[in-house]
């Protein structure tokens, strides 16, 4: 079944884009850019593109006069090209967050099951549609219960692929209704999964192939419009960038050895904040409690969040101060594992995976808490230091 072109205009990240706008989507980027800006809608395009970047840098979650006409397709293709050209993880994350959020709002606003179904089909998601909706449970709302109904179910493999990154407790498979391989899902949550799909789609990792990026850049920087836009974006970025970047310069990059003291679960979150990726609630709580437990100053902890798309310094400072007063204890490994926040395996971390203590595998103690990780590493480091000094002493004698 072919998807209406009108849907593609509104949701240009759909895979069928290539079929509907074959010529446009398969053109080489530099030709595409030079042609597109010379058209009569060129200046309109420029404006829309810059609006997107501005809004993203301002942490907005919406664009007031967002239009989903045919130009939207150009905007989307250009957005991809500019993100590639900028090659900056922080900017990419910002834009991916904003753009996917816009998608969520658009889909929610139109509230059209047929479109939602077609979109899922186009994305290759295995879904089923029920008419009339099926009843799959009950929910309590203020002392009375409400039937849970939905028209949609989604295959558990697709569900896991899109939902496992979101990590909210209620999205865990075990808390959902499952029948014959399909998860009952309400429209709103299904749209949230599509938002995640869109976000991932824009998140091209920083390019490894710097040579072809360079070649591309020298190619397109000849194009006047391209240069003009890039310059404007970069200007806007430098104005705000300090707020995002300075903290890491001081704390994490200059004191790199500090990082070796942190367990993978902490490193992973720090990495995310550095890249400006959004943190889920549990990640925020954990990192705050962890750093506070190590007696990190409050402002430094707050700075860490300055890259978040929804950063609010005042609010964050209040929350961190509150956590400090309450002296919360950070999650233990078992909890982190159940929240899918343990990254011992990804980092192949010996201490996390094999434990500590004796060399005899059966007598080793298992690591139970990320704070112990840091203490053990500190202890080991101090021991090494001690022996180093001792050696020096002995040589001197």
């Amino acid at each position: 079944m072919s998807i209406p072109t009108e849907l593609i205009n509104r949701y240009p990240w759909l895979p069928s884009l290539k079929k509907h706008y074959f010529e446009m989507a398969s053109r080489s980027p530099s030709i595409f850019i030079s042609e597109v800006f010379s058209k009569d809608f060129g200046s309109d395009l420029k404006e829309r593109l810059l609006d997107l970047f501005e809004a993203a840098f301002d942490n907005l979650e919406e664009i007031s006069d967002y239009k989903s006409d045919k130009l939207n397709v150009y905007v989307y293709l250009l957005l991809n090209i500019f993100l590639y050209a900028l090659d900056n993880q922080l900017i990419t994350n910002r834009l991916a967050n904003l753009y996917s959020k816009i998608t969520y709002n658009e889909l929610t606003k139109e509230n059209n099951d047929a479109n939602l179904y077609n979109i899922c089909q186009d994305l290759g998601l295995k879904i089923r549609y029920y008419e009339p909706p099926i009843n799959y449970g009950v929910n309590i709302v203020k002392d009375h219960h409400q039937k849970l109904e939905t028209n949609f179910t989604i295959h558990f493999i697709d569900y896991l692929r899109l939902a496992s990154n979101l990590r909210d407790e209620y999205r865990k498979l075990v808390h959902n209704s499952l029948l014959e391989g399909y998860v009952f899902i309400q429209n709103k949550r299904l749209i949230r999964l599509i938002q995640e799909y869109v976000r991932n789609r824009l998140l091209i990792k920083e390019t490894e192939d710097k040579a072809s990026l360079k070649a591309f850049l020298s190619d397109v920087s000849e194009i006047k419009d391209f240069k003009e836009i890039i310059d404007k974006i970069l200007n806007a970025w430098t104005e705000r960038k300090e707020e995002f970047e300075y903290t890491f310069k001081i704390d994490f990059e200059s004191k790199e050895e500090l990082l070796t003291l942190y367990p993978p679960c902490v490193k992973e979150i720090l990495k995310k904040t550095q890249e400006g990726q959004n943190l889920i609630h549990n990640e925020r709580l954990f990192i705050v409690w962890f750093l506070l437990a190590l007696e990190y100053p409050v402002e430094k902890v707050v700075d860490l969040f300055s890259t978040m798309p929804d950063f609010d310094r005042e609010k964050t400072t209040y929350q961190v101060n509150f956590a400090k007063k309450k002296k919360y204890i950070p999650y233990k490994c078992l909890t982190l594992k159940s929240l899918n926040l343990c990254f011992a395996a990804n980092y192949k971390d010996k201490l996390c995976l094999e434990g500590y203590g004796s060399v005899e595998p059966s007598e080793r103690k298992k690591l139970a808490h990320p704070l112990s990780y840091t203490r053990i590493k500190q202890y080991r480091a101090s021991k090494e230091e001690y022996y180093k000094n001792k050696e020096v002493d002995e040589v001197n004698e």
């Binding site: 009843n135 799959y136 449970g137 009950v138 929910n139 309590i140 203020k142 002392d143 219960h145 849970l148 558990f156 493999i157 896991l160 692929r161 496992s164 407790e169 209620y170 865990k172 498979l173 075990v174 808390h175 959902n176 209704s177 499952l178 029948l179 014959e180 391989g181 399909y182 009952f184 159940s338 899918n340 395996a345 059966s362 007598e363 103690k365």
Partner: protein
């Protein structure tokens, strides 16, 4: 000849004679193989690959290893020692159900533990020494019909309460095997599932086991003094919990009492059980009339006790799986048809419809019999007992032991091999 080389020779003979009967695994050329030889120091040789079934059985015939494994994962180059260089292509979904990892009451009769720190020893299952609190525990786990039956029931539960109805996985994609010791493995061979990364496998593992479930999210909550429970006309876990609760409520009082007082599960004291039983009929009526959404008021039952009760129910419903095995995509598992070096029993593949009647320690169907060293002519062997206490072993309907250290015993060939593999006796 030492006992070790004796066993090694027996294993080699087995692999030579049964060469044509050893089953194969799918995608054979893409699997990594590993084995543990009969050396004193237990080191696994990994990262091997074989071109064909023929070449591996030949290899087994020459080496007669103590344990043989193949990977759940598929690789383009399984023989490359570095995991990142192997060319990972996906992994079967593997579930391991092993009595070692969960409680059964009969462990109090046949499992010994010994504390390496303070020397205390005892029967049953402990994680920490009750005397000194250290966890340097050495256990000697025994085989037992009851335990194996429990494990088998867990596998059946896994298939018919979870994999088929909830996940829609077809039985033809499952391969099941008795592990040759205290459990069963189940493998799902399905292209889509093969591609799941580890964290998504954990989600499935949690669903199957009920681990990390939040009763609150499923509906258990207190609002202005009223305690609400789950909805049974739904699907998924809420329904499972209510169904199980009902099933338990329908049991005779004596059975409910026993269950609710079980330490490892509900662990309720007498008074609570009494008031629970007093309100039993009320609870049943509520479920019958579909009115259980507000829980019956039972004396002494606030959120704490209800949470405790339903946590116990979750435990009853969930399958006792060894989660680390399921989420580890590079794990090796026992090769079907190979011998388990701690028992001398065969890793026996079984079809789901054969499970009900399957009895590994006394199997009537010769083709499914894991006890391969039973000789047609009754030969016996003389042995000296080395371990302080050797629990009784019931195999093929006959019980041998218990034995104590220094005893000289004479047992049939297949029992002798079992005891030798267990390293609790020596030949004399």
């Amino acid at each position: 000849m030492s006992d070790i080389s004796y066993l090694k020779r027996l294993f080699r003979t087995y692999y030579k004679e049964k060469r044509s009967e050893i089953p194969t695994v799918s995608s054979f050329g893409h699997r990594e193989f590993g084995y543990i030889p009969w050396d004193k120091k237990i080191i696994m040789k990994r990262h091997m690959s074989f071109k064909s079934q023929d070449s591996i059985t030949k290899h087994l015939g020459n080496e007669g290893p103590r344990h043989v494994y193949s990977s759940g994962a598929l690789y383009t180059q399984p023989e490359i020692p570095d995991m990142d260089g192997k060319g990972y292509q996906g992994c079967d979904f593997i579930v391991d159900i092993d009595v070692d990892h969960f409680y059964t009451p009969c462990k109090e009769d046949h499992d010994f533990w010994y504390c390496k720190e303070c020397g205390k020893s005892g029967l049953g299952m402990v994680h920490k020494c009750p005397k000194c609190g250290k966890s340097k525990i050495k256990t000697s786990a025994w085989i037992c019909e009851k335990c194996l039956d429990t494990a088998k029931r867990e596998i059946i539960k896994l298939i018919y309460d979870f994999l088929v109805p909830d996940f829609g996985i077809s039985i033809s994609q499952m391969r099941i095997a008795f592990s040759g010791h205290r459990g069963y493995h189940l493998k799902i061979e399905n292209d889509q599932i093969r591609n799941l990364p580890s964290n998504e496998r954990r989600e499935i593992a949690d669903y199957i086991s009920g681990e990390n479930i939040s009763l609150e999210i499923l509906g258990l909550q207190e609002k202005s003094g009223t305690i609400y429970s789950f909805s049974g006309d739904t699907y998924g876990w809420a329904k499972k919990i209510i169904r199980k609760t009902y099933e338990i409520l329908k049991k005779p009082n004596s059975e409910i009492q026993e269950l609710l007082s079980e330490k490892e599960k509900f662990n309720f004291n007498k008074n609570y059980i009494k008031s629970f039983l007093n309100s039993k009929q009320d609870f049943i009526d509520k479920i019958d009339n579909n009115k259980y959404f507000i829980l019956p008021s039972i004396e002494g039952f606030g959120m704490t006790n209800w949470r405790k009760f339903f946590t116990g129910i979750v435990h009853e419903v969930g399958v006792e799986i060894d989660t680390p095995v399921t989420i580890d995509i590079h794990r090796l598992i026992r090769y079907p048809g190979s011998l388990h070096g701690k028992t001398g029993f065969k890793v026996q593949e079984i079809f789901p419809d054969e499970l009900d009647d399957f009895n590994p320690l006394d199997e009537v169907n010769e083709k499914l019999d894991p006890i391969v060293f039973e000789s047609k002519v009754q030969t016996t062997q003389k042995l000296e007992v080395l371990d302080a206490q050797v629990p009784a072993t019931k195999i093929k309907g006959k019980t041998y032991g218990p034995y104590t250290k220094g005893e000289i015993i004479e047992v049939p060939h297949h029992i002798a091999i079992f005891l030798l593999c267990k390293e609790v006796v020596k030949t004399i």
